[in-house]
Symmetry: D2
Subunit: 343 residues, 4 copies
């Protein structure tokens, strides 16, 4: 058999571990060969590809962040218009099955290819952990770890200077990274997109801390945090494709408001890109490797139109459709649990 | 309500995060107070205890390894003989419910107390990840991370010196740490207790590597690894309480045998105690905190004779009995997946 | 003998290690007692102090970021006006010598006290490594390590997305952190305050990389970087107390300019406070402990009006005056060496 | 000009950073080319070499432990007997100068080549920090950091179990790693080869801790530690080439003795190979890069028969002879300072 794979969308620690898992499983369990298309769908359309051998190089990529295949973005219209080209390219290269590694958009594209007769298996990739079909996605644990390390460091500097520190983390539509990093980092308040915040409630929590004799506070804010309707003057923002209002620099906005209301020294740190790059954690390397192994097996066993997913301790195959059905949001109960640790 | 808690058995990163989760939830959600017995069951028998307040000190223990309550071991016979004392002590202290944090032995003790009329909730603690009722236990991710960091470092030193390096990790009865650290660390062979090893198979895998032009190998060995019947002369060992044969220094035994058979330079590193101490990973802090919150809730809602357990994304309550029913071993499929990454 | 100590100015990993070094040396080598004034000079003026014992608590602070004594700022005029109060407070507390731990401003204050008859030993503290009298200061290695870890992570994300990433690090007046983190992190260009930058030169270096087939670039920018006279329109900024022009958000300014000139995708990450908080590196713990030991010895041996300083492998005593004589800037040769690693 | 380089002896984090520094400086500052001989002196004798270009590959090795050139050992007699072959090989390859990177043995070999008319520059490499001519050597900071991380983790496990933990670190002839890791890790006693230990003194220190209410102890032991004459029965050991007595497993020997004398629970952890592998710290990357740059410059400027060395903040050139004159031992004053932190 001859497999093809590609990575698409934003980068995420663990992509190379998936590729390695696919290549080694294809080789060790089935004696198959693997081709990698470069730069996501773009490379598939333009027939830019490399052969991936089960060699020392592939062995060495386990620890590397990013993706050795590169990634890219292609407009859905262009993508759909290119279906004949894609089919021709796969035929010419003698590809029997395609494993697409990517986020919501990529998996939607994969589903569309599958509906158009191409044998496809999907591997969910989202650093934000917002794919509904799977318990966790690789890259998420690394992002949470990096953010938690940063928060650990910020405690002492905030305490020494009697400051409130706002830490803005990734999460435009869902608050998983903020929820976990806030809990792991012992934040005194955490704001997530799923629960519009009331600035008065945040201020109250900070005041209570200072009244109790504490001299500092750490607040974790997901970049997609939104104020509760009517609670913050001038908190406008714009609606995005999902109907969410988004605000640029929400961490700073909250910082300014707390400072204005309480007079404390408030500073903001935006963690940014360091959350999505670099060596994956052990957890993410194991999860990504298992995804790769199971995707290769699914392809060899003819289980197409599916997506690998972590369910409890197991990697299951779920219908590709279910993987893109809806965003997985932080449930109310999880936020309630987080709240009990605030303050 | 007035809760008591204690930690028992070997230490494990995350114990303090559980205690913190209990204390803060009892306070924030129910306005209750919490007492901590010192040194496990021993402190409960001897009525040595401290009050745990939801203060800056409790807040600060999230990152600390070990347990602020200390731990200890008590012979089951002495423990059972002391039931009247235990009941009297809990009565005198006005305790309404007891949350016992510990491994298999501790949870069996907790079950026995529950059967004798004491309201008990259990929190499973095992760095080896061998409790059947839960997907993962806190401390395991930290142990795997520490072992993986070590393996990462050993690759380059093995490669520069054309050596085979054996890394012996924890796991007397189950191979979860070896399985995950071996996969995350890109080991070329991993030996676990559940799959008795054939030294000839290990040697073959190493020889194949050197024939392919590789110049080194990393082999991860769980301390409880055992040779396949009849494959290793002199591989005797002794039977332990579970009927497993154990060998002291199995890593070194395997190293000696490979050296004798193949003539390569083979060295052994025993990771030892560094796997179970120190600051927990972000993953373990979140899991342990959630365990604490849910155990406190279970106690307040009268759900006794239960144990908290991670099931997929959720913390469930399972019968205390089921938590100690049997050791959770590495399933065959997981080891097969690991094998595809060997070599 | 009875010593007093205090920490003043911005926080810095290793402050607690100095305090611990002082307390344990005073106790172990001389049988003396130590008092800690809170919140820097402010606490000394207001006679707020605690006794510091050589106990388990002092032992435990070695790893903690921040300062257990707190820090604060006091206007030099107020400070000088309070000289009688300071003397009275030291007398009342029976203090024989004062060890002042702080940056340039603090050491100037210490010198002034010394000139006014108070027995003082100084310990230089500057995360920026800009004190002339000493080879290195504690906190600097930690800041460089944190920045380097971040840069390591940014390489793969920049590469996967064909981006130029600007990393803004601390260093308002000197470029030591940028110089070392840029070299350790394999940056492709590093901008420091000591060498005004020519934006055209930076652009040329980036273009050369892309022409050579590389697909990304990492540029490290000290926050105090300044453009070469006449090279950047609108690059105005304001003069600070040292006569340097400073610019807010110089990383972003450079990013915008590169984007405008070359059209590449350029992003900025501002590392901020995470560089100055948290557990010190092993290097900083050793240096800070040695500073503490030698400062305590200097005080006991009557070597006042001095400052401890690292010179090669040794801790020397230098005149307090020399420690504040001038800012230690990055020498031209060091920047030339760094340049050879660019591109 | 055409340079050659090679790495010889045990591996050490930072070797690749030196190679990278040489190649990039030769290219950027002088437009020269560089050749790398494989596996140390062996490759030079057998004329096995590769061209090293200033490309993306060389750029990427900064973070890699080990050495891309491999290393090896050659008996001095064979080495000297091969001098004509070495000269012929260097001539055939058109080499103008050789940069030898290695420890004491390698630098002695380099000196001998230099005395025989070959233009040589040396770069000192010793993870043990025992080269007299230089303040610090690369790899040392990484080893200390790894050991310190391990000690940090061991504190809590020792404390939770009321144990004494012995940590055996590298250092066969000198105690620099033990001294620094012991001080950075807050060890309660540190044993180094330079100061033969009195087991009774160690026991007294541990007893004092337990009497003061502490419940555990951490003792760092350099592998080359030796007992004071007549203090330990059966403490035999064998004399090595330097006339030192060495003992296998000195950590365990001390553990057994403390247990026998005091009855405490004492355990041993041997850190082993993890101290010398893996990604170098930021400190070591900077030092190694600077060594590479200055060695390349020395070669181009005709400063042969020299060795690069860190002196304070600067990289100096010292006579090659002085680099191998004697082992740099821990001075008495440093050990006295360490002692003040014990207990």
């Amino acid at each position: 058999m001859r497999l093809a794979t590609l990575t698409s969308g934003g980068d995420c620690p663990g992509l190379n571990a998936v590729i390695r898992g696919i290549v080694r499983t294809a080789n060790a369990e089935y004696g198959s060969t693997v081709v990698g298309y470069l730069d996501g769908w773009v490379g598939l359309m333009e027939d830019r590809r490399i052969d991936l051998y089960d060699d020392a190089y592939i062995d060495s990529i386990l620890l590397r962040g990013g993706t050795i295949l590169g990634t890219g973005r292609l407009h859905p219209d262009k993508f759909k218009a290119g279906i004949d080209q894609i089919k021709a390219n796969l035929d010419d290269a003698g590809i029997d099955a395609l494993i697409a590694i990517g986020g919501e958009g990529t998996l939607k594209g994969a589903k569309w290819l599958s509906d158009n007769g191409i044998p496809v298996v999907g591997v969910p990739k989202t650093i934000d952990n917002d794919v509904a079909a799977t318990d966790y996605t690789f890259g998420f644990d690394t992002a949470v770890s990096v953010a938690t390390d940063a928060i650990d460091r910020l405690h002492t500097t905030a305490e020494s200077h009697n400051r409130i520190l706002i830490v803005e983390v990734m999460g435009r539509h869902v608050g998983w990274i903020a929820l976990h990093a806030g809990m792991a980092g012992g934040a005194h308040y955490t704001v997530i997109p799923e629960e519009p915040f009331d600035i008065a409630d945040i201020c109250k929590a900070m005041e209570r801390r200072f009244q109790m004799g504490e001299k500092y506070g750490i607040i974790v804010v997901a970049e997609g945090a939104v104020p509760k309707e009517g609670t913050m003057e001038g908190g406008l923002g714009e609606e995005d494709e999902f109907g969410h209002k988004t605000f640029t620099g929400m961490g700073q906005i909250i910082a300014d408001e707390i400072k204005a209301r309480l007079g404390y020294d408030v500073r903001t740190t935006v963690l940014g890109h360091i959350q999505r790059g670099g060596t994956p954690t052990a957890y993410d390397r194991v999860l990504a490797t298992r995804y790769g192994v199971h995707a290769a097996r699914a392809a060899h066993e003819g289980n197409f139109d599916t997506c690998v997913a972590l369910r409890g301790e197991n990697i299951d195959l779920v219908p590709l459709e279910s993987a893109v059905a809806h965003l997985k949001q932080v449930p109310e109960e999880r936020y309630k649990t987080a709240r009990s640790m605030f303050g």
